[in-house]
Amino acid sequence: MSANIETYPLTAGMEMNGQAVGLQKYEALGGYAGAKKALLQMGPAQVMQEVKDSNLRGRGGAGFPTGQKWSFVPMGENAPKTKYLVVNADEMEPGAFKDKMLLEGNPHQLIEGIVISSYAIGASVSYVFLRWAYKEAAKRIEQAISEAHSKGYLGKNIFGAGFDHEVRLHTSAGRYICGEETALLTALEGKRGIPRAKPPFPQMCGLWGKPTVVNNVETIANVPHIIRNGAKWFKEISRSSDGGTKIYGASGRVNKPGAWELPMGTPLRELLETHAGGMKEGYKLKGIIPGGASTEFMLEQHLDTPMDFDSVPRAGSRLGTGTLMIMDDKTCPVGLVLNIMEFFARESCGWCTPCREGLPWLAGILRKIERGDGNPEDLEILNEHIHLLGMGHTFCALAPGAMEPLQSALKYFNEDFKAHIEKKRCSYK
């Protein structure tokens, strides 16, 4: 990892041995200078404007402009006194491991981002909603919260600026749907984590009915650097119109699986060939799921796509989390899509019928095809359901997300599906 904070702000100073960047080291790198600047020299509106100008887009996967998201929060004297910032650290998207790197690698960066972001929207309490399995991250966040308190970076009257803030860590008991922002809020309230109807949007009516902003870990981690170095700098370190860097990653049969901070818009080919070290000997590239299990496959023909929020859709997929799952030519695409469908079927919250009933049914059909018992009509049923479980037919985006890898697999790997049905077996085994 690079030590250059000017070009690689998020991972600068991170240790190769997996230890967290400690408070002292973080401060030496300029840590908490952004918070100090925001609270002492800038008003909340100025902080919000700087983030807007930076073109920071939500790193949870949807890419919604962060400054714009904040701007829906009621501000001013007539605004509700209680507001919340919630950090979505429930990283459960299969194939994603970027937030874990930031949470474990530099928890103070997150705390500083929380202080600044909360100041911008006027929130005196924030929650970090952490996934169950991230035990090490939980320890490091707790430690960082307590260290920040003892240095006066959290608590009452931070930097003497008259701003109070408390961070509370909530560790989930494990369920994918809690990563959906409204389900996350319902879960934080202690109920079954089922999604809510939008509108009203959380910025108006969120946690316990109060204005709430939900932001991803990586999004918040960028905020201190934007405030310290300015929106112009943030746009300049990017290779696209989206500002900043991105934590990209790769898994599968590549020579150097891992995660790296790179300029936003780094082309897919560079990620695969340079950073992931290319395919392992004896394996060829067959497809790439670019941003977690709920994104569409990309192919070799898409390798020159700049990996940013606007370019990836032109190649038929989404940037999502930016952590690539690389499928080699000896992996069965039907089997992989089955694995993904089983995940979504298990993690459906059960709230709406199409998702609860539809996903297990589709998983069953894929299982049948994979073991060699499928027939041509099964492919028609699968194709129909891409529409029937798509956007607008379900309560939230879980089932539509599950349709993305399926739809693209049916399109790109149709021969594989047909071969399973014709030969009555999986020829990859």
Binding site: F97, D99, E136, A173, R175, G193, L336
Partner: protein, 154 residues
């Protein structure tokens, strides 16, 4: 029966959270800490402390993957069944554990030492295949490394 210190802890959580139901997940985790699961009797006691019905609390308990309403073994083995691990022979994990301990997914060894369950992607995709045993994570697994890991808990 909840111990008096557990009751105190749960009351503290309720106070911190403001409202009873807000503390549901924390309270259930407190129950599980010693027992490793949530029996009916304790569920009822907690619901009274939270001021909610047992059904409301059970609705929360059964929603989450890691609140257990059935007994689990002393050690929890969680094998990642995410796509990145699946691509790198993740099924080997379940097979190796079955050979070693004689249990399949959802089963507990007769001596109550180990329970084997699947877990959704645990963010070790670059070190696939991966698993957790209790709070410990293991990546880059081979059958040999799975056996080594298991031995630490025997």
């Amino acid at each position: 029966m909840l111990t008096s210190s557990e009751i105190e802890e749960i009351k503290h959580e309720v106070e911190r959270a403001g409202r009873g139901l807000n503390a549901s997940v924390e309270a259930l985790k407190i129950v599980q800490r010693q027992r490793r699961w949530v029996p009916d009797e304790e569920l009822e006691e907690v619901s009274k402390l939270l001021g909610v019905t047992t059904h409301e609390l059970d609705a929360v308990a059964t929603f989450y993957s890691f609140i257990f309403r059935r007994p689990v073994g002393k050690n929890l083995i969680l094998v990642c069944d995410g796509p990145a691990c699946w691509m790198l022979n993740g099924h080997m994990l379940v097979e190796t554990i079955k050979d070693e301990l004689g249990i399949g997914l959802g089963e507990t060894t007769k001596d109550g030492e180990f329970t084997l369950l699947p877990i959704s992607c645990i963010g070790l995709c670059d070190k696939a295949p991966a698993m957790m045993i209790n709070d410990d994570v293991y990546g880059g697994l081979t059958p040999e490394r799975v056996r080594e890991a298991l031995n630490k808990y025997r």
